[in-house]
Amino acid sequence: MSSPDSKPFFLWRHLNKLRWLSLSIVFLMLILIPFLHLYQTYIAAHAYDLLYPSEKVIYDSMETLTAPFISDPENDLDLLKGTTWSGRLFGLDLSDPLALAGQIAASGKLLWPFVLTALIPIGLTLLLGRFFCGWICPASFLYELNTTLGAWLRNIGLHTGQRRMSRKFKYLVLFVGLLLSPLLGSVAVAAIYPPAIVGREIYYAIALGGFGVGAVFFAATLLFDLLVARRGFCRYLCPGGALYSLLGKFRLLRIQRVVEDCNDCAKCNAVCEFGLDPLRDGFGMECNNCTACIAVCPTDALVFKVTPKDQPDRGPGHLGRQYRRAHNENAEDEHEP
């Protein structure tokens, strides 16, 4: 019944769990890095005996955590810094493509060392599409938990927002954000881009003693997702998502539906965080390869393909009632004469 390429490697259906692992690791790193910075500052101050008991807890636990790997924490820990917006991952400087776009828009200049730090993310986005949104973004981590919270609230009978808007709106946000940057003389998109905000605010809360302005904005987006539109900010407003969608338009790695195996159950459409239409082959440039649809598909009809284009709508699934009925009618037509 199933075609050969619908039998992929054995972890296939667990990719979504792997994605959650990736999201969790990124989020935990964003929490760990400020603590490591505090540890570095305590070392730099050479005053262990003068620390508060709570600071000693941080010092001791970070020392235990890092001692096996490094010899000179004050300098060696500089290799792990920053956030997903821009940071240093074990010595490799990486920056968000939106940071680069915003910075170029604001200053009108290409700062080459900075451009180089964004090349790896841009290259990966060209190949994998909007994967950042599903696999790395620390705001996605919170937004997906927020979606789950919304589902619980519906279960106990409360209403949550299920409004649909135009997905094109986020391209307008990106365009206006980049356009405003030179006028404001600052990187305007940095203030409304949730992953940048989450990274910053975690650092502010841990190392600087409290949340900043961005936390208010982020809380508002959480409420927007809950009360107005499910995953509304990512779907309709996020300037970063817009940029990745544009970069990933001709991505090579795509999820596709194997029409022969599909039974039209529509679980994929229900689970899709970005409100796409896998059931009718409607992935488009906004699919972030998150694999949630693969995980729920009961017939393994969704698979990864290496191809630069989506397939056109191949009609109802061959295991579904609609196709079988049409098919049987045809068969009867053939038999009758």
């Binding site: 890095i33 400020p34 910075h37 570095q40 500052t41 730099a44 004050e74 500089d78 810094k81 920053g82 956030t83 917006w85 821009s86 940071g87 240093r88 400087d93 920056s95 940071a99 915003g102 910075q103 604001a106 200053s107 009108g108 700062l111 060392p113 900075f114 730090t117 808007m165 135009s166 709106f169 307008l172 206006v176 405003l180 940057s181 030179p182 006028l183 404001l184 003389g185 600052s186 990187v187 940095a190 203030a191 940048a196 990274g199 910053r200 650092y203 502010y204 190392a207 600087l208 900043g212 302005v213 961005g214």
Partner: protein, 191 residues
């Protein structure tokens, strides 16, 4: 659909009408608070359009001198790094420039010559009516705190401090001043 389209136009219109307000706001509020930018940072305009608000400089600062603006210095300064020397001054370790991805804080080697040539956060100014040494009580704390002793800050009779042009504005003198309010303070050079 029509209502949605209308809402879209309404949001876009509001954003457009707020734009001049936001820029004017930034222009008015600059200079409202005395702060320093991290060492080596260029003039305010250039700094603001180079900085991507990643917060790496703060995460690299071993002295936790670098803090970040909320809305108090205008929207253009949101989440940008600053130093209030009286609270925590710059120790001129130059780590912030090392981690800055855009070069908004340039990379400067940690030598006295390079620091003096390329860092100009501000310049110290002594208020002789407040300074203990000028009141006949020998103090000299600022002189001892200065990383460029005898170059940026010299002392004369009764340890009276004299600031020279070589001062880079790190603020360690202001941090250490035992007078309240401080008798020596950094006049910022960022704008």
């Amino acid at each position: 659909m029509k209502r949605r389209a209308f809402l879209g136009y309404a949001v876009a219109g509001t954003a457009a009408s707020l734009l001049p307000l936001a820029t004017a706001d930034a222009a008015i509020q600059q200079g409202g608070q005395r702060y320093l930018r991290p060492p080596g940072a260029p003039k305010e305009d250039e700094f603001l359009d180079h900085c991507i608000r990643c917060g790496l400089c703060g995460q690299a600062c071993p002295n936790r001198a670098i803090k970040f603006f909320g809305m108090e210095n205008g929207t253009a300064s949101l989440d940008t790094p600053y130093i209030t020397p009286r609270e925590q001054a710059c120790i001129l370790c130059m780590k912030c420039g090392d981690v800055c991805p855009t070069g908004a804080i340039p990379k400067i080697p940690r030598t006295a010559e390079d620091v003096m040539a390329k860092v100009d956060m501000g310049q110290a100014r002594v208020d002789e009516t407040l300074c203990l040494s000028y009141q006949g009580k020998t103090c000299g704390v600022c002189y001892r705190a200065c990383p460029l002793q005898d170059i940026a800050l010299r002392v004369g009779m009764l340890e009276q401090p004299h600031v020279s042009e070589a001062c880079v504005g790190c603020g360690l003198c202001e941090r250490s001043c035992i007078q309240i309010p401080q008798a020596i303070r950094i006049i910022p050079h960022h704008s």
